[in-house]
Structures are given as structure tokens and as C-alpha cells.
């Protein structure tokens, strides 16, 4: 006997992709915002912030310098000094806001676009260029600034951050850890496993997802059919969507997520809703897959402009400050230009260095053989 399925006589599926209705969440506004695109300060029931004028100018300065550095790097790629560049254009607020929420003893696991966060950590910007120039795969000491190397294999750093945070908790420290990743990365199994591990061990980690609407050519709808911040709830920790072009909101939301972690309440997912204003990288051609109008619409939400409007309207930033910042920007750009031209190519034998910490007989053998091979040319020449 088989229980008869009531559905057995149903007609064929008509709409193959009916899509999902977004479950309404009436209890809170979807997007945390403290500064509107027009540069107006607004309040949010759960997130507030109170910054000194100095701090506000500092945030502005961070964003301006980051953008300038980024533009310079893009230019250097065009001039052939870099093989590739991944621009953060448009994501300055998400990165500076979250980056400035961190304590020195917090630890950052970035992906490959976190130039603004690196800036906040005090990583010398020219150090970021090494991998894009092709002279190394990451030119800084992760432990000097508690800023891990850029990670290219999408999503994998979410687990490193979680493990690091498990270690922080084991040490009894109240530091916190932050993992950056993109909307595309949210689909990777590793990110889901990081959610599971961090929740189960209650690890002090903040998952900071910069939803810049695109994973190369794929819009976010190819990764999820509901807003990404909602992903967290099913793993047992809170998710919040913040206006990623609002540096104040990003700072406030990240800060409270970090504090939650410090208090031993475990992970939080922050979705910073922002936009990738440029190409995915300098190798990419976005005209193949997205319309100019979309980008233009986001220009009106520019993170730097809105803070400038606010700062000038409130008299926090005057022409003197802005002019000085312009000079500082030019200086930074020049410094970067000069540094890149001085950046030495690695020594050929660096191929064999640091493969192992304790050495390896095969590497030794190959190094010796290759050195002899190289020397044989010198002989021929002499």
C-alpha cells in the first residue's frame, strides 16, 4: 500500500522561478543609517554615535586619503607598474567605519580589497602594492598591525578569523576579530562553516560582509534571494544591515558588534550595503554586464561627499582643513608613486625561500641545482 500523494494530480509547474517573497520584518528598519546621502544626521533606535569634531574630521581624512591612494594605484596599473589592481572605490565608508571601530589588539582577516581597513591598521599603503605588482604574495608582517595578509581564495579567511577568535577566547583576552568578505563569498561553504563554528564556540568574531552588489559580473541575486544579513539568524547570532556608504553607521554598528564579541556573546554578521563603483579589478570590463545608470544612481550616495556636506554644513571642516587634506593627498600619491618605482624585484632564489619554516631536503636539492644552473650561464658569459 502506498499513501496516495495528494499532489499527484497537480498541473505542471507554470512559473519555474516564482521567486520568494521577502518575509517582512516590521520590528526594525532594514538599513541602519546615521547620515543620509544628503548629509543629514539621523538617529537610529538601536545604534547611536557621538564623535568629537576631531574624530569626524579623522574619518573624513581617512576616506579621502584611502580614495586617493586607490586612484593612484589604479593609475599605476595603467602605467604598467602594477599587474592588477582591485579598487575599493565606493566602499570607503564601509572600510573606514569598520576599521576605526577596532582596537589595536583586535585582529583583522581581510580579503583582497580592504585597502581602507589596512589604512586604519597602519599598514603602509605601498606594502599593499607588492602582490599586485607581482613582487610578493603579501608584503607585510601580519602580526605587526594585527592585519592578516590579503586572501584570494574566496571565503577561506572566514575560518581563519573564527579559529583565531577561538584562540583569543582561550587566552581569556577580550580582543575581538573581524573577518571581511563580499556578497559573492557568502555562498562559499567555508563562510557557512565559519558561521557554525563561531556560533558553537561562541567565538568573539565579527563577520563584516561588504555587499557591493556584485561578484565580478554576478549581481547579488545570484547568491541569495533574501538580504544577506538575515543569514546569521539561522546560525543563532544576530545579523544587521548597515548603510555601507555611511561611515558613522558603519562605525557604530561594527563597534557594537565588537563589544558584543568582547562581552563573550559571540559572533555578529554585519552586512554593509554598498556599491562597487569601479570595475571588479583593472582586468574587468563592467560594461559587459551592468548598466551605467546603476552606477550613476549610487554616485548620489557617495560616502565621502555626504560626510563632507555634513562637516561643512556643521562648520566642522573649513576650507583650510580641506585644502590641507588636498595637499596631504597629493603627498600620499607622490610617495606611493615614488615608492613603487623603488620597489625592488625579488631575488630569483626567493622562489625557494620560506617554503618551509624548518627546511625540506627536496627544496634544498632543487635550490642547489637551480643555483648551479644559473651559475652555468655566468660561466658561459665570462
Amino acid at each position: 500500500m502506498t499513501v496516495e500523494s495528494t499532489a499527484a494530480r497537480k498541473p505542471r509547474r507554470t512559473t519555474k522561478r516564482a521567486g520568494a517573497k521577502k518575509p517582512p520584518d516590521a520590528t526594525k528598519p532594514e538599513l541602519v543609517q546615521l547620515l543620509t546621502p544628503e548629509g543629514k544626521r539621523v538617529e537610529h533606535p538601536d545604534h547611536s554615535i557621538d564623535l568629537t569634531d576631531d574624530e569626524l574630521r579623522g574619518l573624513y581624512r581617512d576616506m579621502v586619503l584611502t580614495r586617493r591612494f586607490d586612484a593612484e594605484a589604479t593609475a599605476l596599473q595603467r602605467q604598467g607598474e602594477l599587474g592588477l589592481w582591485a579598487s575599493l572605490l565606493g566602499q570607503e565608508a564601509a572600510q573606514i567605519g569598520s576599521g576605526r571601530a577596532l582596537r589595536d589588539d583586535d585582529y583583522v582577516f581581510p580579503t583582497y580589497r580592504e585597502h581602507g581597513v589596512a589604512w586604519c591598521r597602519g599598514v603602509d599603503p605601498t606594502n599593499l602594492l607588492g602582490m599586485f605588482r607581482g613582487v610578493n604574495n603579501g608584503g607585510w608582517d601580519p602580526n605587526s598591525n594585527n592585519f592578516h595578509l590579503y586572501t584570494i581564495v574566496i571565503g577561506s579567511q572566514a575560518l581563519h578569523a573564527t579559529g583565531y577568535a577561538m584562540g583569543v577566547a582561550k587566552d581569556g583576552s577580550d580582543a575581538a576579530v573581524i573577518a571581511y568578505f563580499g556578497d559573492g563569498a557568502s555562498s562559499q561553504g567555508d563562510v557557512a562553516e565559519a558561521f557554525t563554528f563561531s556560533a558553537v564556540y561562541n567565538a568573539p568574531v565579527v563577520f563584516f560582509c561588504q555587499n557591493n552588489q556584485w561578484a565580478i559580473s554576478e549581481p547579488t541575486e545570484k547568491q541569495t534571494r533574501v538580504p544577506l544579513y538575515q543569514r546569521a539568524q539561522g546560525y543563532g547570532f544576530p545579523g544587521v544591515r548597515v548603510d555601507g556608504n555611511d561611515v558613522l553607521a558603519c562605525l557604530a554598528v561594527t563597534r557594537s558588534a565588537l563589544e558584543r564579541a568582547r562581552r563573550g556573546e559571540g559572533p555578529t554578521l554585519v552586512e554593509a550595503f554598498t556599491y562597487r563603483m569601479g570595475a571588479h579589478t583593472t582586468s574587468d570590463d563592467p560594461t559587459k554586464y551592468r548598466r551605467d545608470e546603476e552606477r550613476e544612481a549610487w554616485e548620489a550616495k557617495d560616502p565621502i561627499l555626504r560626510l563632507k556636506t555634513y562637516l561643512t554644513a556643521e562648520g566642522i571642516a573649513d576650507d583650510g582643513f580641506l585644502a590641507e587634506l588636498d595637499r596631504e593627498s597629493d603627498g600620499l600619491a607622490q610617495r606611493v608613486r615614488e615608492a613603487i618605482r623603488l620597489m625592488p624585484d625579488p631575488d630569483t632564489m626567493a622562489i625557494f625561500e620560506n617554503v618551509y619554516a624548518d627546511g625540506h631536503a627536496l627544496v634544498d636539492e632543487e635550490r642547489a641545482e637551480f643555483a648551479a644552473y644559473q651559475a652555468s650561464f655566468a660561466e658561459e658569459v665570462s
Partner: protein, 333 residues
């Protein structure tokens, strides 16, 4: 151009375009053929190998997937079980590893697990190898990690005609095929005759005849070996060059035939030498040609080190000089 191709007129095509045309042909011939991967739709893939296909065949057949390689291969397996023939793109060599479990424990074994009752006609395209000045994870040659695994077939074309035809054959195959595309040859043009099949998928091909030594290579290194043979010829050395074409199975008969004549063998690949394809060729050809070999089989390939940053790749990659150095060493025996 597509019209010429359709008319079967031999065309000079870049290797990437040859694959594109081959995919188009396969999709026209069989509605069950699907393209899946990251950015394969509107963008046409980061190398434009699937350019225009979504426009012509629709989103149902050229599927932009979520950014998750295990998911891509895992769902391709499910689609294959349903009767589809998915052709999956992995964006770069270094990003195949999240899918490695699905490939090794599921895709490779499912036909055997089911005692032959199900078939897994899945093609996994992997642009591989270095030489394009890319950042980490974009220049690797992981073929040995797949060839070691029973249930998979691994091939790599070295030129446009093979790219076109081997893709046709890979899609036709009822077995999973890992299709390694030599990314630095994507832009190299070659004649493609869409009417005449250049031979079985897993047959090696002698691409230059010689008498003193055999060079075996595949994919991107075939060109380097041909150049080395040309350079050696000027010094009066006659090198035979065999394009292996298939790393699993390997056509040992063709290599053996060559080595029995030349009595010396050098294998060249970009992948690390240690446990690379050359190790297997050295072991098996030495066994088959023990009394013929005048010198041990020498290998030229990558070092036991992570693929270096771009500014070092010229030194890291086997080039003309390193191949000729090995040739000289082999001839010195």
C-alpha cells in the same frame, strides 16, 4: 566567423575562441549540454571562453552560478544524474580545490559505486598554468592531483584544433573529464578544421620527428618544446616532440615507440616535478624501455615551492634554456 565555422571552412582561431566554437557546436547538437560556472553568462567568463553563449542559448543553458565551487560541481553531478551533460567552468586553477571533494569522492567514483548503472558525463574546464603575470592562485598546474584519481580523465590541448576537437570529444564522453586549458595559449591562433577529427581524445601525437631524444609535453609546454627542438636543430641535435594531450590515461605506447627509437626522454611540464606527470612517465617508460634507454628519463618542471609571484615566474617556469639544459644533460650520458 561563426557562419564560416558552421560551414566547416578551416579557420585560424585563437585557442579560446576554438573552445567557444566547440561549446557552441555541442550545445547546438545536444539540448542536454549545459554551461555552468561563475561569470560564464553575460561576461562570457573572465577569459571570454563562453562569450555570447548565454545570449544565444539563454540563462537556462548557460548558468551563472553562486560563488561556490563545491556547489557548482555537486549540482553538476545532480544534473548529470538527471540526464544533462554539464560543462563546468572553474575560473582559475587555484580555485578548483573547494570542489575537490565532490570531484574525487563523488564525480570520480559514482559510476563505479552504482556498478555502472549511472553515468557522469561532466566536463570540468580549468584554465591552468602560468605565464600571464597573474596574482597568487591564478597560475597553477594541478593536473597530477586529478590524474592520480581513478574515475577521472584528464586532457589538455596545446593548440586551437585540438582545443576544438578535444572539447567535442570530452563532452561526448560518458566519463568525467577534467579539461585543462593552457591559459597562456588562449590567444595563440591556429587552424581549425571543423570537419576532420584529429584522432582519439587520449592519443598522444608526435608533433615533430627526431632521432636523438624525445621531448614529451602537453598543454602550454608543447610550444616551448617545439621551440627547443628548433633551437637544438640548429646545433645539429634532432629532437622528437610528442604532445601527450592526455594525462589520464597516458598514451604510453606512443611515447614508448618514440623512445625505442631515440633512446632518450625528457619530460616537460609546468607542474612541480615531484610526483608530477613526469614521474609516472619516467617510471613507466623506464620499465618499458629499460634496455633501450641510454640515459635516465630527465624531467623539467616546476619546483617544490608555491607558484612564485609574477616577477619570478619566468625563472620558475620551464623555458627554452631549461629544456635545452636537460636535453644536453640527457645527451651527455
Amino acid at each position: 566567423m561563426a557562419a564560416d565555422i558552421a560551414a566547416g571552412k578551416p579557420q585560424k582561431l585563437p585557442l579560446a575562441k576554438a573552445i567557444n566554437e566547440s561549446l557552441r557546436k555541442a550545445m547546438e547538437n545536444d539540448p542536454k549540454v549545459l554551461i555552468m560556472g561563475e561569470d560564464v553568462g553575460k561576461l562570457g567568463g573572465v577569459f571570454r571562453v563562453t562569450d555570447g553563449l548565454q545570449k544565444d542559448f539563454g540563462e537556462d543553458r548557460v548558468v551563472d552560478t553562486p560563488l561556490a565551487e563545491s556547489g557548482i560541481v555537486g549540482t553538476a553531478i545532480g544534473l548529470a544524474l538527471r540526464g544533462y551533460r554539464p560543462v563546468v567552468e572553474i575560473q582559475f586553477d587555484g580555485f578548483v580545490f573547494p570542489a575537490y571533494d565532490q570531484i574525487v569522492t563523488q564525480l570520480a567514483k559514482m559510476h563505479a559505486r552504482a556498478l555502472g548503472k549511472v553515468k557522469l558525463p561532466v566536463v570540468i574546464r580549468i584554465p591552468y598554468g602560468g605565464g600571464i603575470g597573474a596574482v597568487e592562485h591564478h597560475s597553477e598546474s594541478p593536473e597530477a592531483l586529478f590524474a592520480h584519481v581513478a574515475g577521472l580523465k584528464c586532457v589538455s590541448p596545446s593548440n586551437s584544433a585540438d582545443a576544438y576537437w578535444m572539447m567535442q570529444q570530452a563532452i561526448d564522453s560518458d566519463d568525467p573529464v577534467i579539461f585543462f586549458e593552457p591559459k597562456r595559449r588562449y590567444w595563440d591562433k591556429g587552424e581549425v578544421d571543423t570537419e576532420s577529427i584529429p584522432g582519439p581524445l587520449h592519443r598522444a601525437r608526435t608533433v615533430r620527428e627526431g632521432t636523438d631524444l624525445t621531448l614529451v609535453a602537453y598543454g602550454p609546454m608543447v610550444k616551448v618544446c617545439l621551440e627547443a627542438a628548433a633551437a637544438a636543430a640548429e646545433e645539429g641535435k634532432s629532437l622528437e616532440v610528442v604532445d601527450l594531450r592526455s594525462m589520464s590515461p597516458i598514451d604510453f605506447d606512443t611515447v614508448q615507440g618514440s623512445v625505442e627509437r631515440t633512446r632518450r626522454l625528457v619530460v616537460v611540464h609546468e607542474a612541480p616535478v615531484f610526483l608530477g606527470t613526469g614521474a609516472e612517465l619516467a617510471a613507466r617508460i623506464t620499465e618499458r624501455c629499460f634496455y633501450h634507454l641510454e640515459a635516465p628519463v630527465l624531467r623539467v618542471g616546476g619546483f617544490h615551492a608555491p607558484y612564485p609571484p609574477a616577477r619570478l615566474e619566468e625563472e620558475y617556469l620551464p623555458g627554452l634554456d631549461r629544456v635545452l639544459d636537460a636535453v644536453d644533460r640527457a645527451l651527455a650520458y
